[in-house]
């Protein structure tokens, strides 16, 4: 059946602009998905959409009740309750950056062909962050008005600068004993420099550990080149070991596992099920199907590793269809993009994922700290910097926190990252759930605002939203229960540093 045409369905002359709260629409299967600025969404038939637009729904009709409950009928909206709801979902507007990415070194012992971070060889200790810079970066991070701080150790391979990593943990814990913020640490590592002694320290200090895993062993080792050993075996050995230690510590294994992130390369496009199976076999509960970034080496190797957005989406759909199939067989695994989007669409929950919120997270949600003290809008911003373009360098540690937050560049990025300022976004049904990344726009289209109509960022997210909307539209009770389970947000409280604890 063909999708209904809006211009044949609704005559502008007959629209009652006072009946419905402003909403956007998009054809999904044979019906329409509608959403409003408050983030409510529902499906309506073409006839129901026409009645809503014309204001021709009687109060006694079940449709009226259904649309009123979802805040689509202007006269039924409880303004005070919705204002509170809006403030809760947009709480990130009321405080500063939560995520502080510390690039501890440019050194790495891997030679990943798509590396986003433009790494250097292990002998280049001159690219390490010093203790002095690290302390000043922690001082800067603690000036955020956010009640929570996550210090994320990035690289290169951050464990190559182990001494400074430990120092940051100890110094931040000391500061937090006085300040009492919700402090967490996160390590993004290939795990090859891990030892039992270092693991003892990381577990003792409650540092969350994340790694990269590109799926099947042959592909992982082909694109994540490691000369000293079998990289896949080494990384997965430590993943299993860390998970064992979590069990020994009595942590809930549903919640506490090493988070592994794949990067989708061209060769992986043919093997979505192999990727999912590899993660499931390792006990992973979440898979984040990340597309190649336009940053770092990936920008240069795109001709050999890259692919079109349509190819990525075909891969994504096949992988998530398979994940759903596995769930029906009792395997607990989810896809991370889908979980984030579903949280916003059906759970009315804002997970504060910095790339999918409006305004985006550049500066006001995250800051990237370069080893030499430069401060970037984000991890992606410093990746652009590593490519020789300082467009996203907001300042240095010689600046004050206030100067960084009020810099002209910051303001420009916040404006660029606001969906209400984008021509296509303002009229998109997915606007309440979507967001911008000015750094991506800049690298792919030459301006921080980008043009959503031919942006691969927009296409990717719109495709995934469409895929999810279609699945929701046709979901049975079991599938809905599964999607709702994916949106369950259980905080990993174990990783919170206790205030007053030194």
């Amino acid at each position: 059946m063909t999708q209904p045409r809006l211009d044949e369905l609704i005559s502008l002359r007959k629209v009652d602009a006072t009946f419905a709260l402003p909403f956007n629409q998009r054809p999904i299967n044979d019906d329409f998905l509608i959403s409003n600025d408050l983030g409510d969404m529902t499906f309506v038939t073409p006839t129901e959409l026409q009645k809503l637009a014309y204001g021709q729904i009687e109060k006694t009709e079940p449709l009226y009740t259904r649309l009123a409950e979802k805040n689509f009928i202007a006269g039924e909206v409880d303004v005070a309750a919705q204002a509170t709801r809006w403030r809760t979902k947009n709480a990130f507007l009321f405080y500063g950056p939560t995520l502080h990415a510390f690039v501890l070194t440019g050194r790495c012992n891997f030679g990943c062909q798509y590396c986003h971070s433009s790494i250097v060889g292990m002998h280049r200790t001159d690219t390490d962050m010093s203790i002095e810079v690290a302390e000043r970066a922690v001082d800067m991070a603690f000036q955020t008005t956010s009640p929570g701080i996550t210090i994320e150790f990035q690289g290169g391979e951050p464990m190559a600068n182990w001494e400074v990593l430990q120092h940051v943990v100890e110094y931040a814990r000391q500061k937090n004993a006085l300040v009492g913020k919700a402090l967490t640490f996160s390590l993004v590592s290939n795990l090859t420099l891990m030892t039992e002694e270092k693991l003892d320290y990381l577990l003792e200090r409650k540092v969350q550990i994340c790694t990269s895993l590109d799926g099947p062993k042959d592909l992982h080792n082909k694109y994540r080149i490691y000369r000293d050993a079998d990289g896949f075996d080494l990384t997965t050995k430590w993943m299993k070991r860390i998970n064992e230690r979590y069990v020994e510590m009595g942590l809930d294994t549903n919640l506490y596992r090493v988070e592994a992130l794949p990067t989708v390369t061209r060769a992986l496009l043919e093997r979505p099920k192999d990727l999912v199976d590899t993660f499931v076999d390792l006990g992973c509960r979440a898979i984040f199907l990340r597309k190649l970034d336009p940053f770092g080496f990936a920008a240069r190797t795109a001709k050999t590793l890259g692919y079109s957005m349509e190819q990525y989406i075909d891969f994504y759909v096949e992988a998530v269809d398979y994940i759903i199939e596995l769930n029906k067989q009792g395997v607990q695994v989810m896809e991370r993009n889908a979980a984030i989007m579903l949280s916003k669409m059906i759970a009315d929950y804002e997970p504060n994922y910095l790339d999918l919120r409006s305004p985006g997270g550049a500066v006001i949600g995250q800051i990237g700290y370069h080893p030499d003290g430069r401060i970037y809008s984000s991890d992606e911003g410093r990746m652009v910097g590593a490519m020789g373009d300082e467009a996203f360098c907001i300042g240095t540690l010689d600046n004050t926190y206030h100067e960084i937050m009020t810099a002209a560049s910051t303001r420009a990025l916040v404006i660029a990252g606001t969906n209400l300022g984008q021509p296509d976004c303002v009229s998109c049904v997915y606007r309440p759930y979507c967001g911008q990344q000015p750094e991506y726009n800049y690298k792919t289209q030459g301006t921080i605002r980008g043009r959503m109509r031919d942006s691969t960022w927009c296409r990717k997210h719109k495709y995934i939203f469409d895929y999810l909307a279609k699945r929701l539209h046709s979901a049975d009770a079991d599938e809905m229960a599964m999607f709702e389970r994916w949106t369950t947000n259980r905080p990993q409280e174990h990783f919170l540093q206790e205030s007053g604890e030194i």
Partner: protein
């Protein structure tokens, strides 16, 4: 006539020249669209008066940074047109939603800098505070505080 046209392409100078009715698009949109191409072309903007009553046209000269052929010049021209429309439409949208965007951005930056009043301050209902208390005597009028004792001066 189309809203923008690839007037000519000169393979020798690797240059495409586009023309554009100056009455349709705001100059800022033309600047913005031209700027979006500067990674691919050297850009020169000019304006050409036409016969009386016919207004004027912008001329956009794009000299490719890499070798262009006719198809590439057409593609660059199309890219310019798309960006131009996007810039113009964005201006319109921002004008329409400008107040709301400004409020959101201001709140976001104020929140990040701590410029807004903390909620616990607003919610403070400490009964011990009495704003009529004046332990330093700052509310006492100057004349009263420093008045000379009339009786003594008398």
């Amino acid at each position: 006539m189309a809203q923008h046209t690839l007037e000519r392409f000169d393979a020798d100078s690797n240059t495409a020249v586009l023309s554009l009715d100056a009455g349709i698009y705001p100059l800022d949109a033309v600047y913005g669209a031209a700027y979006a191409l500067i990674d691919r072309a050297y850009v020169l903007l000019d304006k050409e008066a036409r016969a009386e009553g016919k207004g004027s046209r912008f001329l956009i000269q794009l000299r490719g940074k890499i070798k262009l052929d006719q198809a590439a010049a057409q593609a660059l021209s199309g890219e310019f047109g798309n960006e131009l429309l996007s810039q113009a439409l964005r201006r319109k949208v921002v004008k329409q939603n400008g107040g709301l965007i400004e409020e959101i951005v201001t709140q976001a930056i104020a929140g990040a800098t701590g410029a807004s009043l903390p909620q616990d301050f607003l919610d403070d209902d400490d009964d011990d505070l009495d704003f009529l208390d004046d332990p330093l005597g700052i509310a006492v009028p100057w004349e009263e505080k420093f008045k000379k004792d009339g009786k003594k001066n008398a």
